[in-house]
């Protein structure tokens, strides 16, 4: 039974119909993936990649227009309410009611699931602790910080004790400290056995939280695997980042050199040049040997950011 995937998509497609002056739009273009119980699965991609659209199709709030999708064994188009009853959703926008208190927001949400008052009250208490919002319980949402609101949205999404929790960009717009608090909460959920699906355009987030992830671009999946596998398969071990006063000339010289043959590669961004090499220091020595003098030179380990750059030729955050 643990072998049947919780969510399974084959050739999953979403075409938004034409509306007014805008033509129809293919936001998700035939993607395949399978989600196993207990794992944390990530969708990584730049703005407009189709992450939120995919999340909405899984959460049965946007009908699929092609392919097949099964969620917890249900068809999300025909059996939407059954699917939604067993999922927790943290949307990209919090959509909390700012005039209601923290507790009231939890209460109303529980009512939407048809839970009894006593049940909601009991769960709300433990969720307030989980979200570390106990001393704000009777404050209006209006006065909460961004990080607190996000924690409340996560707490709210857990009121029905969901089997799968979907988080759409859980930490976008938060400061580093608030992000770490949130990661810690998500990590605890994962340890408690909740299956997580999340979208992000932060590499570090994907590396921290995801067991497996897919990289999306323009509605398609361009790669999938564990963070480690992706790095091993699509980039070198190390990266040398260089900045030049005259980048164009330098890039031309580098491209003509041996650095670009033999497994090495070059990626030119508007403000810097990246040299992909298994040995960054050796590559730097080679750069100096070409009589190039970069303003700054940095050798670092390759990350998912580099995977994305390699796969799409574009940077993830624009």
């Amino acid at each position: 039974m643990t072998d049947t995937p919780l969510v399974e998509a084959r050739g999953l497609t979403k075409v938004y119909p034409a509306r007014g002056s805008s033509a129809e739009f293919r936001a998700v273009d035939g993607i395949d993936f399978a989600l196993r119980r207990g794992e944390a699965f990530g969708f990584l991609g730049p703005n407009g990649a189709g992450k939120s659209t995919t999340m909405r199709m899984i959460s049965a709030t946007s009908p699929i227009t092609g392919g097949t999708l099964r969620v917890l064994g249900f068809d999300p188009v025909a059996q939407g309410p059954q699917v939604r009853a067993r999922l927790g959703v943290v949307p990209q926008d919090d959509c909390l009611d700012r005039e209601l208190t923290v507790r009231e927001n939890l209460y109303i949400y529980g009512r939407y699931f048809g839970l009894r008052r006593a049940v909601i009250r009991e769960r709300a208490e433990s969720l307030l602790d989980f979200a570390q919002l106990r001393d704000k319980a009777d404050e209006q949402v209006e006065v909460l910080s961004g990080g607190m609101r996000r924690r409340l949205t996560i707490a709210r999404s857990l009121i029905n004790e969901p089997e799968i929790l979907l988080l759409d960009e859980p930490t976008t717009g938060l400061d580093p400290q608030a992000r770490h608090v949130l990661w810690d909460r998500l990590f605890r959920l994962k340890q408690d056995g909740v299956t997580l699906i999340l979208t992000t355009h932060y590499m570090d987030e994907a590396e921290q939280l995801c067991d497996r992830l897919v990289v999306m671009d323009g509605g398609r999946i361009v790669a999938q695997g564990t963070p480690r596998e992706l790095i091993a398969a699509h980039t070198t071990r190390e990266v040398l980042e260089l900045r030049f006063t005259d980048q164009d000339t330098a890039a031309e010289k580098l491209r003509a050199s041996a650095l670009c043959g033999d497994g090495g590669r070059l990626e030119v961004l508007p403000d810097r040049v990246m040299v992909y090499a298994d040995d960054g220091e050796a590559a730097l020595a080679a750069v100096h040997a070409l009589r190039l003098s970069p303003l700054t030179a940095l050798v670092r380990r390759a990350s998912l950011e580099d995977v994305f750059l390699t796969l799409t030729g574009r940077s993830l955050i624009d």
């Binding site: 959703v89 926008d93 959509c95 009611d97 949400y109 939407y112 048809g114």
Partner: protein, 253 residues
Amino acid sequence: MWRGFSFWLLQYRRVWRGTIVISVANPLLFLLGVGVGIGHLVDRQASSPIAGVSYLAFFAPGMLAAASMQTAYLESTNRVAWAAAPDGAYRAATPTPLSPAQILGGHLLFIAFRIATSSAAFTLVMVLFGATHGWSALATLGGAVLTGFAFAAPSAAWAVGLRQTRRINSVFRFVIMPMYLFSGTFFAIAQLPHWLRPVAYLLPLYHGAQLCRTLSLGTATAAATALHAGILLALALAGIAAARVAYRRRLHP
């Protein structure tokens, strides 16, 4: 549907005192100013086409229908458009087992409740002014609620798809306000030029005003009442059908 309703009720709890004051103060001022004030002038003209009743008794039920329409329009446009926005109240309910139709139902129930309470306050003021009484008052209230609802559902169907709320004010100024004037709210349709009268018959508010007036004055006939109520009911049902489609499109894109 009740689950969606309970949200709006919880929200309303913080503002209900203010809205009650407005619901009573509005008709009070209107009936005093227009009904009694202008009525004083009108009632002295023996040739008036509304002869037989005081201007206040003539005007008040028409105004009740118009006020009900206005409450319905305001409740089911601005708040609907706000709730449907990316961080609005509907969005919180969308990922739950509630369907778009249930979200609509919950909100329409609340709008009906608002129409009913504000119309009840208006009718109460009418009774205090002696403009109507007894069972007539109750029947008039029913007519006013139906009038409001006939506007609420189509307005919600339109507003849920709105991206900019500017249009709400334009429609108010260029559609709702003129309807006040040509629907026999302030004066009898018979006073309009001949060629303009058929236009009035097409206006839903005309049927609402006639329905309320005849019920209030006790001059209603079964046939006319059925016609007016039937038109309003048809509008309400068409509005609900359109809103169900529009809500699904917007909330489950």
